[in-house]
Amino acid sequence: MIWNKEAECMSREEMTALQSERLVRLVKYVYDNVEFYRRRMDAAGVKPEDIHGIEDITKLPYTTKDDLRDTYPFGLFAAPHSDIVRIHASSGTTGKATVVGYTAADLDVWAECVARCLSMAGVTRNDIIQVAYGYGLFTGGLGAHYGAERVGAMVVPMSTGNSKKLTTMMVDFGATAIACTPSYLLHLSEVLRDNDMLDKIKLRTAICGAEPWTDKMRTDIEGRLGISAHDIYGLSEIMGPGVACDCEYHSGLHICEDHFYPEIIDPKTLEPVADGETGELVFTTLTKEGIPLIRYRTKDLTSIRRGVCECGRTSVRISRFSGRSDDMLIIRGVNVFPSQVEAALIEVEEVTPHYMMIVDRENNLDTLEIQVEIDKKYYTDEIRGIERLTKKIAGVIQGALGINAKIKIMGPGSLKRSEGKAVHVIDNRKLI
């Protein structure tokens, strides 16, 4: 089912005209309302009058996550605070979070985009959908929630953290759809199997996002649960989930390109790459009011595909993500930068700069272990002393990352020293 035929099946000429009109308006809007962009554009020698259409987008400077950090918390907001009705936040590269704000119109667009994605996954007003993303500052929960309400489905706001309750309600309510991370859905399939509940569920579709996964994992999930599973993509800087999603033909993720204009660039030269070639995904938020971003570098690596899909949609598609051009990790759906861990550890007096993050997956759930060496004078002869310190470090990490990590104190000199660029992460997860 196609939620918004007019937008999703628009001819290329109409789409280009719409994007052009919106870009021209956007550039004038940010130039007039965001000091950061005014300075950036002045420095680059570009004026709003130089932008006549979407083809002029390459004249504009890029925006990065560091720019968001440098202007923390509200520096890139274009709308007055009185017009902002919602805030979300995600991990920054260091201590400070990346904060985004939405006007009422932004929330309306967001719900519309998520509704399009849910429709790609076959969700209608007749469905009962469990939203098992975290509700709160993370965009996943509320984003999926309002989109599902827009569709008119019966929304069950599960949030995260209670698989037993979730599976019980899945059976008792006869839930037909679920929105969660793909690894969590795999975990749920095991919980259902172990409790002999697999033949009692009515689930038929899943909208999975917030972490990278493969087609093999998708078919695995589909086989285990007897459902169809869909990959929803988004990032809070651009909006949240709902930027793109794959339809029943699974031949790439359809971008809501009337709102988010995509480009693929070479992350080293910053030059555009040809269609089909892998590069870094860049988005311009064509209609956003709260925190509009111009050519925002997502650091996600993918390629772009044009042409009409078998489903009838004409929108540009991106392939599954092949990685990142930075060192960001996604652990249990949460973005984690090694630099955050480093910044947090520096705050703990007893800890040395030597640390190692070990990411793994047990029972389809991500685990994070942080091995640290402590300063020689803080090693103690008593187990309770070591345990006290372990708890203290765990608390600091939880505060900085928002996820629990297992802390392992190592003997001095036991963590490998690297020559050249330090390696601080071992990711043992296999994307199967």
Partner: protein
């Protein structure tokens, strides 16, 4: 009297304990008693040796987190209930025992290594009851 115990933090890794013992052997340090407190993540190795300062130094040089800890070694006669009596007296003074392990046994008594939170108070109790504690010098003669 107290004696110096050498403590070493070792993460659980194959061969790590052997590496510690190798360093001591290479430096001619004799081990009189050894205790290993193990957790799932790491171990705390506690050693009574003939030359504690030197043992600590050579281990530090070899990159281990070795440190000296003051402990009490008591001589407990071979009478059922002897240790329990001593512990009861210590407990009366609200002194906590952090850990203990055996050192050696002779014809007359057994020697036990004990770490308490209030060393002086514990020693006072022991002295008052004429319970013998071992000195570093006595230790060297073992």
């Amino acid at each position: 009297m107290t004696v110096n115990q050498v403590s070493v933090f070792i993460e659980n890794r194959q061969g790590r304990l052997g590496e510690v013992l190798h360093v001591l052997k290479e430096n001619g340090v004799n081990i009189l008693s050894i205790s290993l407190a193990d957790t799932t993540e790491y171990g705390l190795l506690r050693l009574i040796v003939n030359e504690p300062e030197r043992a600590r130094d050579v281990l530090l040089e070899a990159g281990f987190s070795s440190m000296l800890t003051e402990v009490i070694i008591i001589k407990v006669p071979h009478t059922p209930g002897a240790l329990q009596n001593i512990l009861a007296l210590i407990a009366e003074k609200n002194v906590n025992i952090e850990y203990m392990y055996g050192l050696s046994a002779s014809a007359n008594d057994a020697s036990i290594v004990m770490k308490t939170n209030e060393l002086d108070l514990a020693l006072e109790v022991l002295r008052a009851q004429s319970i013998g504690t071992m000195s570093n010098e006595e230790l060297m003669e073992l």
